[in-house]
Amino acid sequence: MTFKFDANRLVAVALMVLGLIMLLASFQINLDPDGGQGARIFPFLASTALLILGCLELKTALSKTVEGESSVFSSKRIKQMLLSPILWMSVLAFAYLWGIGKFGYLLSTAFVAPIALWTFGVRNYIGLLVGALLCPLIYHVLFFVVLGVFPPTGEWFDLLTVITGE
């Protein structure tokens, strides 16, 4: 008998793995000086609950038959996942954050705004250019000038320091 993975089984296994990791991590929490469970008890209970719920989920998932085509590891599914706009948007999100850390807020936003607009289907080049210029400007004025939030500075280069001359 071969064990086929479908989404439900994968979810169940993911829950069990997460529950197990958290359970093991809860044992790393030191006990109280008097030996009481204190800081450990709640994390222990919650991770045990997650592990048990994962087991129940797996039991339910195993009771259902899996069609051969529905395997989450089929080449078609993997290709779909790799081409998914969500994966692309997630990569863009992390890249944007990295960019803010290295090049400051203004430059990163000017770069990412048109890419985000493009991802959602905007194909007008003037619109993309306007987005690249207006987004950093409006957000900067609203959050860093009006609200007085301290802007994140770029480690390698920051356009804001060039503009303000500081």
């Binding site: 958290m22 800081a39 994390p43 919650a46 991770s47 989920e57 969500i86 954050l97 905007v122």
Partner: protein, 507 residues
Amino acid sequence: MEIFTSLVTVLTDPVLIFYIFLAAITGMVIGAVPGLTAAAAIAMLLPLTFYMEPLVALAFLYVIGKSGRYGGSIAAILFNTPGTAASAATQIDGYPLAKQGLSSKAMKVATISSVIGDFTGEILLIVGVGTIAAIALKLGPPELFAVYFAAFVVIGSVIGKSITRGLASAAFGVLVSMIGLDPISSEERFTFGIFELSNGVGLVPLMIGIFVLGEVFAQLEQKQTKVKLFSEPESANDKARNQLTFKEYKPCIPHAIRSSFIGSCIGVLPGLGSAVAAFIAYGEGKRRARNPEQWGKGALEGIAAPEAANNAVSGPSMAPLLTLGIPGSTIGAILVGVFLIHGIQVGPTLFLTSKELVYNLFAAGLVGILLYGLIGYFGASVVGRFILKVPTNVLYPIIFLTAFIAAYSSRGNLFDVYVMIIAGIVGWLMRKFDFNPAAFIISFVLASGAEETFRQAILLSNDGVLIFLYRPVALAFILLGIAAIFLRVRSLKKQANHEEQSFESAK
């Protein structure tokens, strides 16, 4: 009596009135955009409120929540796309009316019923909250923990298709809230050697990730369908047909009143929310209606019932939050964050420490209802037209970018932005695999209070966890939680059997 003094305070403060007005419009617009919810709007706007006075901040977000619930009906009636899950019931009769060229009349019924429902809920909250708070003050740690336990179980199990995934969402929320230093012993928990995690995971970036970025991902995955606005009556004859007379609304009044009470009762229970209230009220209204055959084909009563119930949830859902510190909804969970940011501890002592603030908030809620009612009655179609002019392919990238700066602004920390992105991916996965993001967030907020009361109860006890069985109130709430799971399993089994039978008979 406090409410009258508070009403005077609110009505004589032009800044507060301005923000309530702004919130009424903002909530209505966001609620009417299909896919965007009031919770997402509140999460995104939360950092802006850090710089406001506590009352202004709370009133602004509270009224957005109220008018956002109402805004869903604009999309349901005018676009045939429910703006929120709760307004799906309104769509059943709203769409046929709009097809008959009576969209303005349908909107007027929805507005009046929403206002009746919301006022009823708010007044019941004002009248009852003091009593609940007085009772809550008498509860000790074992009873309070039992209430938390029941809340976790009800929130996790009642909503959604899967009980195990709902409860897993709640357990995961508890685990994420445990990250950081233990508040009593300062022991590190689940930090995995990452220094930034010592401060714990921030509520604001977590909520922005789950509700805002998660929604952006979900919208990106969905194929955008072009929505069409039903044309406004232009000829004198059409305008006359769209006028709502008292005679026409009169049969809706009993439905609006009954549904307001249904919504208020459901609102007090944590986790159930507006959608459940709207559908129960619709079903109950149809059962009692004199014209049940008209329901679903464009009955005005079919709009009045769900709209009144949907909005009546808003006020009473604040009762467990203000008296016990238990948010009954995602909006409630966000408001807990606002209270904490402004140094106000929600829970049984709130009425001793900040009674004036609470009543001022209620008064702001009443003014907000009146304002969104007036704006909606005279300008719902303008809001609908405005939304159609904002292309979603521009709106969602803007929301995507706003999520980053909003998450950063909460503590001026780029690590919070990492948290927001991860929460966004988790939120999207939760929606995709039928987990319950609301249960996750509410449990995240509840966990610290639950842990504190649990540990206090154990310290009080000579028999360990048996203290929860010896105290009758605590035992009653624990049994309530267990009963909630049992009843939910039974109802899901019944539903599955019914579907199986329908499938067999269709073959």
